[in-house]
Amino acid sequence: MLPLLTRCLLMIAGLAFASATLAQQQRVLRVISDRSDQGMVRPTLDAFEARTGAKVDGVFMGQGLVNRLESRPTEADVVITADAELLEIAADRGLLLPIVSPAIKAAIPPEFMGTNDLFFVDAYRTRVIAYSRARVKPSELSTYEDLTSPKWKGRICVRSGSHDYNLALWGMFMASYGAEKSRAVIGGISNNLARTPRGNDREQARAIFEGKCDLALMNTYYHPLMAANPEQKPWADAVGMYFPNQAGKGSFIMRSGVAMTKAQGNRDLALQLLEFIASRESQDAMVKATRQYSVLPAVGVNAAMVQLGAEQGLAGGRFKMDFVPLRAIAGNREDAIKLVNEIRFDAER
């Protein structure tokens, strides 16, 4: 019989060897995302880890995603972004690999597949008009362009015109309305502002609640987020969400997306993750966690958002979307920022 000490040492050595081997065998998938709050993405990645046994390491970096990708094209295997326009730009710069997957092709509607199948949209939300339930009737609202009407003078609150969310919206205006009209609309909104643009989307809801303005531009998922927060619930209760342009081409949507980079070594695993993200299981979980809308028609709207738009006659939280192609929008962001600067959208009022 071996002495006790020797047995212990052998056991420890064995365990160490086993862990090292396991670590070597366990594959690591690298994901880069501009979502600085992992809470939106992590549940999906955790579920993928549980399913495949792979480990997913992430960089959740906020701004500068495309520049980092350009600087290190093969650092990550998968890109997950809240703004699919960035994937359009990344695709233009040759940073992405085409997605060849029958499963994804079958699941994702064609309008949500990116240019040359270099990425796909995995979720969307819309930028709607938040309005004061106490002071505005839904029947008074109609389109984005109507926000330039004199009746809204001094009644609109908005976050910075240079913020990503608004730049995306202005880009859609430019693609949809053309240069001249979009300038008039953005300028008109600027003229009708109640105060200097400040704060984030929830701050605008708070401003409506406090009577500082009657309308705001907000992303849809903020309403259930505020409703779930005891301190912000009064803000949610005070505002209604109006989906503009339902009688016309529909409301503009903002898209999240995923893509594969040209990194080698983990392509099969990367594709597995993308297929997982496109699956019913993941889409169901994503809708619950992020309060966005799924690209899969069969996946329902988040329970907390089903009532959104009910006051204007929408049912089940579904709405008409103005499907401006990403390709048409992606190049507009530079023009949008220039326009915002020229009209001094963010100037002190």
């Binding site: 390491d57 906020g62 500068g64 520049n67 350009e70 290190r72 400040r198 949008a336």
Partner: protein, 523 residues
């Protein structure tokens, strides 16, 4: 007997200069050849640049007033007078170090619906209060060395208090005043997170908007060149002034060792009240709110993340401190002590000042420079090898940015150390390095101590460099706080804010103790 270390000194001087200016130089080199490309610079200059620059200047001036009132004034009073609550005044002046300005800005903004807390006045207040502890340290050190004999002498020549203020005190404090203004302006120009939270359109925000809109690093470099060029000029002037205008202190320590004057009654209470007044918005109220939020959210906290995040922050901060310390020790080992005799001495002392350029640049711009410099195939990527994809890059960038906090006090201490001390140690048998260690211990140790404590605390709070340069799976308290505060979930961020404060408690305590020891011999 003098040490002959010219070649290493020259090499170190050049190396320091290159390291200090490399990011700014890289950005300029990227931007200058294509400055007119896409019309971005012309667009920026003709639209938002003028009023964003005016905003930034206004914020900086207001912040300077706040910082001087909350930091410099108590520092001079604590250095000159003995009164009940003197130690408390020191502590109150340093406590704002426990908060990053974007955290106080977000906390106030979420807690209060007043429009003030989303105005540029609020931004100036937050940035000013964030700088106040640094001004307290600078003025505390300067005032403790300022002999009372100057003022007494001037009084004996018939000068009243107004004349003494104008002709003796203000000129004597010119250097700390200039240093204080540099710190405030650097903080205000470089800040992005607090301005973004409050939606105040500053120059830094304008540059970032250009970058994010175009998703082009070249456009960002073009925009950043607006700040890089004046930064280099300003820092160059500061470096020149450090050796041309600031004379070595001709007053031996004995003259400075006058005992503190007693301050009693209403005057003492007024000083204490003044400090408490500034501590309220800068620390007390944000702290109370944060603790309350943490209590509310305690049961929903992801405790399993805490050890990793704390360890990640600790390791990154310690790494930055060690790197800064290594550079400082190298400078101490090679640079000449005592007065600057030749042009070579003066240039070797000016070079480290150039590190200020990285402090003036907005952190996201510095991060952009590092992203570009460390791209695949670059020299930096080759030199770093696999380390590029670890937290080492973050540590490098953070250390580069925070280097002035330790290096400049070190240079000051070196200047105050007579070269004869080294010679005396050599004569008594010490080797060259040990002789320097013996000679420098008295002055350099406190300066390094102070500097490293400040570097550690700033590194714990640092967000932008961590965000942009982070490796995969990089746990960090600052990143958690940032992520929550972006979506106004300050209540969820509260626990992480308290954890980051826990990490900073020890260096804060050491800093407080060090400030207290400044005039131990004068009691």
């Amino acid at each position: 007997m003098t040490l002959s270390v010219d070649a290493p000194r020259l090499a170190l001087t050049v190396a320091l200069g290159v390291c200090a200016l490399f990011p700014a130089g890289y950005l300029l080199a990227t931007a200058l050849p294509v400055l007119q490309q896409g019309g971005w610079l012309a667009h920026f200059a003709s639209t938002t640049l003028p009023w964003q620059a005016a905003n930034s200047l206004q914020v900086a001036l207001l912040a300077a007033a706040v910082a001087f009132a909350a930091g410099a004034l108590p520092a001079v009073l604590v250095s000159r007078f003995d009164f009940a609550g003197r130690r408390l005044v020191s502590l109150l002046a340093l406590l704002p170090l426990l908060f990053a300005p974007h955290v106080t800005a977000s906390t106030w903004m979420v807690w209060s619906s007043s429009d003030f807390f989303t105005s540029q006045y609020a931004l100036a207040m937050h940035l000013g209060l964030a700088c106040a502890p640094y001004l307290f340290v600078v003025f505390r050190v300067a005032a403790s060395r300022m002999p009372r004999a100057f003022a007494e002498l001037a009084a004996s020549f018939g000068m009243g208090w107004r004349q003494r203020l104008l002709r003796v005190h203000l000129p004597a404090y010119a250097v700390p005043v200039a240093a204080g203004l540099l710190i405030v302006f650097a903080q205000c120009l470089g800040d992005y997170a607090a301005a973004e939270r409050l939606g105040v359109p500053t120059l830094s925000l304008g540059i970032h908007s250009l970058w994010f809109a175009s998703q082009s690093s070249v456009v960002a470099a073009i925009g950043a060149s607006v700040l890089v060029l004046p930064t280099l000029v300003l820092v160059g002037v500061a470096a020149w002034a450090s050796t041309a205008l600031i004379s070595q202190n001709p007053v031996p320590p004995a003259a400075a060792a006058a005992s503190l004057r007693a301050l009693r009654g209403p005057a003492a209470w007024a000083v204490l009240g003044w400090s408490l007044l500034w501590a309220v918005p800068g620390f007390a109220i944000p702290q109370v709110i944060t603790v309350r939020w943490a209590e509310k959210r305690w049961s929903r906290t992801r405790f399993e993340d805490i050890p990793g995040d704390m360890l990640g922050s600790l390791l990154t901060a310690m790494g930055s401190v060690l790197l800064v310390l290594a550079v400082c020790l190298l400078v101490a080992a090679v640079m000449r002590a005592g007065s600057r005799r030749s042009w070579a001495d003066r240039w070797s002392e000016r070079m480290p000042w150039l590190f200020l350029a990285n402090y003036f640049l907005p952190t996201l711009v510095l991060a952009l420079a590092f992203v570009m410099m460390s791209r695949d195939g670059s020299n930096l990527a080759h030199w770093l090898g696999a380390w590029r994809d670890t937290a080492v890059l973050v540590v490098l960038a953070v250390a580069l940015r925070l280097m002035p906090f330790a290096l400049l006090p070190l240079l000051d201490a070196l200047r105050r150390t007579p070269a004869q001390l080294i010679e005396a140690a050599l004569v008594h048998g010490a080797g060259p390095l040990k002789a320097r260690a013996l000679a420098f211990a008295g002055h350099l140790r406190p300066a390094l101590f102070l500097g490293c404590a400040l570097v550690f605390m700033e590194a714990v709070k640092e967000v932008d460099l961590n965000l942009t340069l982070q490796p995969f799976d990089h746990p960090s308290l600052a990143l958690k706080i940032y992520a929550f505060s972006r979506h106004q979930n300050m209540d969820r961020a509260a626990v992480w804010v308290l954890l980051s404060q826990l990490l900073m408690l020890l260096p804060l305590a050491l800093l407080w103790w060090r400030m207290d020891r400044l005039d131990g011999h004068r009691r």
